[in-house]
């Protein structure tokens, strides 16, 4: 009996030592890698260069969403379940950036408040491909595939442009961005809402 107890004690000690040695190899931080890469705050104010950056895109989208959501026409659009769409915002600056970053965020934030919107441009090809696949490929059960000719058109369209003025001296660079967004009734072409956001960024060299 005593021999059995001492055997069990020995096994427990060995298991304990093994567990300790294994845990000594690990840290409590759930990370992997060399430590040269780290995650930052996506909402932080980014001032790396004067180029249009994440903070600018976020501020523009936020301002436009806030402005749109308090517009009676948009509140009416939500109540009547009418449709909105966003045309590509024109980039008139000398920099390259994807203006869909702005419109996609605005549409996502508006949709959280009940706005319905339709796809356009880049997304349209995938939509048409899928409609054709279901209707013309002969692969699908007719009773369980979607019908052609049922797509809905938007009543209003968001459109706009981003422009910039750049001034440089030997030791300073000043960039002024102006973003103009408009809500247009598609049938009539009437601009029902407009708002602007200005941003000034200055860098010393």
């Amino acid at each position: 009996m005593q021999a059995q107890n001492s055997h069990a004690l020995r096994l427990t000690l060995i298991a304990g030592a093994l567990a300790f040695s294994l845990s000594a190899c690990q840290t409590t931080s759930p990370t992997t890698g060399s430590g040269n890469v780290s995650y930052g705050d996506a909402k932080a104010v980014e001032t790396v260069t004067t180029d249009l950056g994440s903070t600018d895109i976020q501020m523009i989208s936020e301002k436009m969403t806030q402005s749109l959501i308090q517009e009676p026409l948009i509140q009416d659009l939500i109540r009547k379940r009418q449709l909105l769409m966003a045309s590509p915002v024109k980039n008139k600056t000398s920099e390259y950036f994807d203006t869909r970053l702005i419109t996609d965020t605005i549409l996502a934030q508006l949709q959280k408040n009940g706005v319905r919107y339709t796809i356009e441009g880049e997304d349209m090809q995938n939509q048409v491909d899928e409609l054709r696949r279901q209707n013309q490929s002969g692969l699908y059960d007719k009773s369980k595939s979607v019908k052609m000719g049922k797509m809905q058109g938007a009543k209003y369209r968001l459109d706009g442009a981003v422009s910039s003025i750049i001034k440089k001296t030997a030791d300073q660079k000043d960039v002024y961005y102006k973003i103009n967004l408009r809500l247009i009734e598609i049938e009539t072409g009437v601009v029902e809402w407009t708002d602007e956001k200005e941003i000034r960024k200055t860098a010393r060299r």
Partner: protein, 138 residues
């Protein structure tokens, strides 16, 4: 857009929610105390030169509108970073984290921050403030 709001603006105060002042007027002492500015502000550290001297909130068209007055007590320009947290009546967050926004407040000047809640669900808020000159940064 502003013309569309003339009537709602006229009816404004009727709808609403919170109005907070820096100092309670003496005659209001017997009335039930409203929320204080401090209860709506989250400062990251103690701001040395910037003060929230007025804070108003009103609900119009089901959207919470906030106006905060920031006063710069120094003679130099001060940089401020701010963002709002949007909450429902139970204190739950109803919107994603907002981006931090930079605001330059000129020396010895007051500046308004005017915002509208990004969602109809927001009934309460917190204004989070951070200034590079906050004591907490030292």
């Amino acid at each position: 857009m502003s013309r569309r709001f003339l009537i709602p603006l006229g009816l404004a105060a009727a709808v609403f929610a919170v109005s907070v002042q820096a100092q309670t007027p003496p005659e209001a002492a017997s009335q039930p105390a409203g929320p204080t500015i401090a209860s709506k502000i989250e400062e990251q550290g103690q701001m040395r030169y910037l003060r929230v001297t007025d804070l108003r909130a009103v609900k119009r068209d089901n959207l919470l509108r906030i106006q905060a007055e920031i006063t710069n007590t120094s003679n130099g320009n001060q940089q401020l970073y701010y963002r709002f947290k949007w909450l429902d009546r139970d204190g739950f967050s109803v919107w994603d984290d907002e981006p931090w926004k930079p605001l330059l407040v000129y020396g010895a000047q007051k500046q308004f921050i005017n915002v509208v809640a990004p969602t109809f669900k927001a009934t309460d808020f917190r204004l989070v403030l951070q200034s590079p000159d906050n004591s907490g940064n030292n």
